[in-house]
């Protein structure tokens, strides 16, 4: 006999987990990429200021 309660748990928890895990990955990825982009633009601005100074 199928345990439908267990089946509901597996499907509900499973689909939700896939969504949550990939959402967390997307958020972490976005944060890291934003931090890298900021640091790169800051570096290039400093470079430009240095170049103007010389």
């Amino acid at each position: 006999m199928t345990d439908w309660g267990q089946a509901m748990g597996i499907a509900g928890f499973g689909f939700l987990t896939v969504f949550v895990v990939l959402s967390i990955l997307a958020s972490v990825l976005w944060l890291v990429c934003s931090a890298i982009a900021k640091s790169v633009s800051k570096q290039s601005k400093e470079q430009q200021v240095k170049e103007k100074g010389t």
Binding site: T2, D3, W4, Q6, A7, G9, I10, A11, F13, G14, F15, T17, V18, F19, V20, V21, L22, S23, I24, L25, A26, S27, V28, L29, W30, V32, C33, I36, V40
Partner: protein, 372 residues
């Protein structure tokens, strides 16, 4: 001296039906060029094992394999070695750039896993047990190695039909997906224009992704470690820039060896007596339902994202959230160009496509964590 036996005298109608299926696979691979790297080895393996008294799959059912292909199947397929090594090769061949440039495509990869859970329930209704239903449902992820890995762990007796269903439907993506996409989108939606170029992704971002991906996913779903770990490791070899030799081997000859072993062994796991059963037909039926539902869920999620987003995305790219890399993305590209010749959706569709591979591996890890 033993009595010599002619194989021809042991032929049965099941062998002949399996020959026809084997010829169909080889025909599709050769003449139609549908996934030839898989369909031809699978077809030939199927033919070999259905030549009676050859003994290639001897001993497998008793758990003491002595036949050549039975040994391959038992020691490298069923225990999950080859699927993980194929993931290593896939990682070395995959460009995560589209996912990194647009991380929200990861959600489309998650949405397209809906078919997995829908068919999990359908399989239970057809009388399969929970571990069997998990293994059948994962066909909806359209990812052959993951389907084999999971069914090897949860329902090894169904591995043959599940593997064949997964790979056959992957080859049939251009036939299965378009009617589902068309039914769920209007012509205007299919014509939504997306700028062809994505933002450039730096080498640092590409190098960090496999490490971030492995840490985040494996910490949350530990049982996905063999698949995700191999996938991310293969990718790191490719993007590090200092392990070109290893990346080339992992994505080249090594991958080819694994594919040969996988294809011929999976084909050989289908002797007619075991394969031609109502259970196998149910698995094939549920497999196509899983594919169609996953395609539909990805497309509908993309439409839902359009409701909340300022910049509209073409909803067809959601359908690429089923893995089947890169076939599903190519289908979207072709349909997109038909609807609007200015559209070039391939790179946009590759994001959900790669996210689908990750999503299916995570779904398999969750199943293993709860049922395994």
């Amino acid at each position: 001296m033993g009595l010599f036996e002619f194989g021809v005298l042991a032929l049965s109608w099941q062998h002949l039906v399996m020959w026809l299926i084997a010829f169909a696979f080889i025909y599709l691979g050769v003449a139609k060029k549908m996934e030839p790297l898989l369909l031809i080895p699978i077809g030939f393996g199927m033919l070999l094992v259905n030549l009676p008294l050859g003994g290639l799959f001897e001993g497998y059912a008793e758990g003491q394999s002595t036949g050549l292909l039975a040994m391959f199947f038992q020691y490298v397929i069923k225990n999950g070695i080859i699927p993980c090594l194929i993931f290593l090769g896939l990682g070395a061949m995959t460009d995560f750039g589209p996912v990194i440039a647009n991380p929200k495509t990861l959600l489309l990869g998650a949405g397209a896993q809906f078919g997995v859970y829908f068919v999990f329930f359908c399989a239970l209704l057809f009388g399969f047990t929970i571990p069997e239903a998990c293994s059948i449902g994962i066909i909806g992820g359209a990812d052959g190695p993951t389907s084999i890995y999971l069914s090897g762990k949860l329902a090894p007796h169904l591995l043959g039909p599940i593997a064949v269903a997964a790979y056959s439907y992957m080859a049939l993506v251009p036939i299965i997906q378009p009617p589902v996409i068309k039914a769920l989108t209007s012509k205007e939606e299919r014509a939504i224009y997306m700028k062809p170029e994505l933002r450039p992704v730096s080498k640092l971002e590409k190098m960090l992704f496999p490490m971030i991906g492995a840490i985040v996913i494996i910490l949350l779903v530990p049982k996905s470690a063999p698949l995700i770990g191999s996938f991310m490791f293969g990718n790191l070899l490719q993007v590090s820039g200092t392990t070109d030799r290893l990346a080339k081997t992992a994505g080249g000859s090594f991958m080819d060896i694994c594919t040969i072993l996988l294809g011929i062994s999976v084909g050989a796991s289908m002797p007619g007596m075991l394969f031609l059963t109502p259970q196998t037909l149910f698995i094939f039926f549920l497999g196509v339902v899983a594919f169609a539902i996953s395609t539909a869920a990805g497309t509908l999620l993309a439409k839902l994202m359009n409701v909340f987003s300022k910049e509209k995305i073409n909803p067809m790219i959601g359908a690429a959230g089923v893995s089947a890399v890169p076939m599903a993305a190519r289908v979207v590209q072709t349909m997109g160009q038909k609807a609007n010749p200015r559209n070039f959706l391939l790179m946009h569709a590759m994001g959900p496509n790669i996210a689908g591979v990750i999503g299916t591996a995570v779904a398999a890890g969750v199943f293993l964590g709860m049922v395994g």
